[in-house]
């Protein structure tokens, strides 16, 4: 959907790296009927502007919880967590991020265009601005012509694209994505991964991306955070040395496989722990 030259035009931010999300000794304990559960333990992590950071690990490792804590949807019980230098709650009020959930979560009573317009209405954008932004982001995710359709008339992949458009519609520098393609089949997923990379290159957003697929994590990110459960913690942070420009078949190169191998090792080490 984007030409190659546009992707080439993208360059890493050359100014001094600027921390967008910063966690120091972050703790999060859930009180359940079976007693407290340590969902996050001693999380230390810095995500810089323009990075694409994947969180990978088995279920229960706290990757989703961490993302929700960044979004202010969960309250940490210890340590510090800042988003753009603010607390997550302040960042939420400042509408600092767009969030894409596991399911599209579109409102079935709104057409696709009106779903994308929802955050703009809430945030008080002008009518004309709403119109042009909806048009722009629907173009970005390849959904032109579906404005008047209702979510339940579209395929799962298209619904998820609409929900991404909805998260992009307003000017948030950060995009938080919680297994957005988890429920889709492999073929659709590949396609969306490619589109997401192009979109990231074009918008220069900072992206936090939760997944349980190793190839997806390696293919997309600049940094892979490997997590492990009971208690949820970070076991490894792997910088991705692959070039910015990534055609789908980069997944067959030795370099790709090497990084994937390291991620797998990290996941295994986490498991050997318990």
């Amino acid at each position: 959907m984007l030409s190659q030259t546009e992707i080439d035009g993208f360059a890493a931010p050359d100014a001094a790296p600027e921390a967008v999300i910063e966690a120091r000794d972050l703790q999060l304990v859930f009180e359940t009927s079976d007693g407290p559960v340590q969902a996050l333990k001693d999380i230390n992590l810095t995500i810089e502007k323009g990075e694409f950071v994947s969180f990978i690990g088995p279920s229960g490792c706290g990757k989703t919880t961490f993302l929700r804590a960044v979004a202010g949807l969960e309250k940490p019980t210890g340590g510090t967590l800042t988003v753009n230098g603010m607390t997550p709650d302040e960042a939420r009020r400042a509408r600092a991020y767009g969030y894409v959930f596991q399911a599209a979560g579109l409102y079935p009573w709104r057409s696709i265009a009106r779903n994308v317009r929802l955050p703009l209405e809430i945030m008080g954008y002008s009518k004309a601005d709403q119109e042009s932004r909806v048009k722009k982001v629907l173009q970005l995710v390849d959904l032109e012509g579906f404005e008047r359709k209702y979510p339940w008339q579209l395929s799962g992949g298209m619904q998820q694209r609409a929900s991404i458009a909805r998260a992009l519609a307003f000017d948030a520098e950060i995009l938080l994505m919680d297994e957005p393609f988890g429920a889709l089949d492999e073929i659709v997923r590949d396609h969306l991964n490619e589109q997401l990379l192009a979109l990231w290159a074009r918008t220069e957003k900072t992206i936090g991306f939760v997944t349980h697929s190793i190839p997806e994590a390696v293919y997309l990110s600049t940094k892979i955070v490997v997590m492990s459960p009971r208690p949820g913690r970070i076991t490894d942070v792997i910088p991705n040395t692959l070039p910015k420009e990534r055609p789908l078949d980069i997944r067959d190169t030795p370099e790709f496989l090497e990084i994937a191998h390291r991620v797998r090792e990290g996941l295994r080490a986490g498991h050997a722990y318990d």
Binding site: L73, G98, Y99, F101, A103, W109, I122, W152
Partner: protein, 284 residues
């Protein structure tokens, strides 16, 4: 006797026709869907007419449909007056007030988790009670005219609508609610853009229950005292005079009014909750 046999013959023939229709390719067409039940309804009427006339059943036990139709045609002005008194003044105004009050209450209660948890079981409990029994009390309080009938209707429709609305307001999915949180949306924004729309199917469920209850409430309340007009009044006095044709004519009015009212609410539901799985015509 010949009439009775004729009616039975008609019934056999119509039933045979219906079986043919239902098992033919016509069954899934609009024509078939309408023709079969209509033929069945007509058969019942013919059977009723033929048997009552053929066996000369006295009119004080069961008048034939033709006699009821004649009575209906001859007394349209009385029936209209009764309809106005009972349906428009009693049932409809009570319905509007009751639904409005339940709605306001639901939105007020909804802000307090504690109250909601208490009100939901109590409300469902009261909704299952024979609330119609409050009719004599309300007739005493509000007098014989339509105001007391409206009051009965208010009490009857209040709880089903309240319970359904309160339940509906919590029906939005977690992701949909979290989404609103990530937008830092205010209470009213969330209510208006998410929780009310997602409550609509529940609200309509309550409204549909309430339409049936409203007419029942208004009619039965008249059994406990009314001015000399009204459907319930006419039914009870005509029963006393053994003028059963008049009773049946009133029942026909009640049936028409009841299904028309229900149909209107169902139509509004179709328009406003077209997106709900139960309302989608087909997958496109």
């Amino acid at each position: 006797m010949i009439l009775a046999f004729g009616a039975i013959l008609f019934w056999v023939l119509a039933w045979w026709a219906n079986i043919r229709l239902a098992n033919s390719t016509l069954a899934d067409t609009r024509f078939g869907m309408a023709a079969v039940p209509i033929l069945f309804g007509v058969t019942l009427l013919v059977l009723w007419e033929g048997l009552v006339r053929g066996l000369s059943v006295p009119g004080v036990i069961l008048p034939p449909p033709s006699m009821i139709a004649a009575r209906f045609a001859a007394s349209t002005s009385i029936l209209w007056a009764d309809f106005r008194q009972t349906f428009i003044k009693g049932a409809l105004s009570g319905y509007v007030i009751g639904v409005g009050a339940a709605f306001a209450m639901a939105i007020a209660v909804d802000r307090y988790e504690f109250l909601r948890r208490g009100l939901l079981p109590v409300g469902s409990f009261i909704a299952a009670l024979p609330v119609i029994g409050t009719a004599p009390i309300l007739v005493m309080w509000f007098g014989f005219d339509w105001q007391s009938k409206a009051a009965v209707v208010v009490v009857m429709v209040f709880f089903p609508v309240l319970v359904n609305t309160v339940q509906g307001l919590t029906s939005a999915e977690r992701i949909q609610r979290d989404l609103m949180t990530t937008y830092a949306a205010g209470y009213w924004q969330t209510l208006w853009k998410l929780r009310l729309p997602s409550a609509l199917p529940f609200i309509f469920n309550g409204l549909k229950i309430a339409t049936t209850l409203a007419l029942i409430g208004a009619i039965v309340a008249e059994f406990f005292g009314s001015p000399i007009v009204g459907m319930g009044f006419r039914i009870s006095t005509s029963v006393g005079q053994l003028a059963l044709d008049m009773v049946w004519a009133e029942i026909a009015v009640a049936a028409l009014a009841g299904s028309a009212f229900y149909g209107l609410v169902a139509l509004a539901e179709r328009l406003l909750t077209f997106w709900h799985p139960s309302q989608r015509r087909q997958k496109t």
